[in-house]
């Protein structure tokens, strides 16, 4: 008889516990977005007297990661029009950019103006810059130019 009472109490207790359970929902509604993270700057080195190139020996490509949370975004580069910092007397310079991508977007090296559709996720861009002096040589001193990475 004691065994039966114990079973009844146990069942009642279990039923009471089930009745107290409730789900607590967590919801999110995310918009599509694009985030650019500049991971490292590039390094230009001399490649002859009139050329500075990040792909020459000793140079470094710039690195950027583009994060997209939706489809339909595109990436491209804009080459600088001039050095933002250069020794006095530096004349006209022609800039050329290239980039390649790994990760969510896989692309072999293409000219910077090429518009590349981005995959959803993280796309790792490797960016190179080449500067050619117009009928001149690059003098000693510090040079700095900015490449613009565009996501739209």
């Amino acid at each position: 008889m004691k065994y039966i009472y114990s079973c009844v109490f146990l069942l009642l207790g279990t039923t009471a516990s089930l009745g107290a359970q409730s789900d607590l929902p967590f919801r999110a509604n995310l918009e599509e977005s694009c985030t650019i993270e500049i991971r490292s700057d590039g390094v230009l080195v001399r490649d002859g007297l009139d050329v500075l190139d990040s792909e020459a020996a000793g140079g470094n490509s710039g690195a950027a990661t583009v994060y997209t949370t939706g489809a339909g975004f595109q990436a491209s580069l804009k080459a600088p029009e001039a050095f933002s910092r250069a020794p006095n007397g530096t004349g006209a310079v022609t800039f050329m950019t290239t980039y390649s991508s790994t990760g969510a977007t896989s692309t072999a090296k293409v000219p910077g103006s090429t518009i590349t559709p981005l995959g959803v996720g993280a796309s790792n861009l490797s960016v190179d810059l080449r500067a050619v002096a117009d009928n001149a040589i690059f003098q000693k001193g510090a040079y700095e130019a900015f490449v613009t990475v565009t996501c739209e």
Partner: protein, 128 residues
Amino acid sequence: MHKRTLAALIAVCAATTPASSQSMSPMRGVVRSFTDSFAVRVQPRNPYKHRIGVTIRAYDADFRPIDASISPADFSLGAGASRSVLVVLSFEGARERRVRICTESAPFPGKGVGMRAQICGKFIAYRL
């Protein structure tokens, strides 16, 4: 002029939704306005762990700079921070206008970074 701006603001509030934690949002939008001007509100965000300078610019469909009332146009954002920016543009007599609104950011001078990030949202505005 105030009525026009107010109407444009109402139009943008109805057409776009606010968001957070993105470098810029929204990235797409359709705006309808009863006046010769329309407004877009964007929300740039700094994804870095350090303060950056931010500039907001407006371009046409061919990426040519266009006149716009942007407030604020230039500001700085702390790590992970975001803020709302209002961009008011004119239809310039047209019934429809396609524009890009871009968040352009670069670390402060002295960081030695040779790349800038430009994130552009595309918006279509219709004059009703």
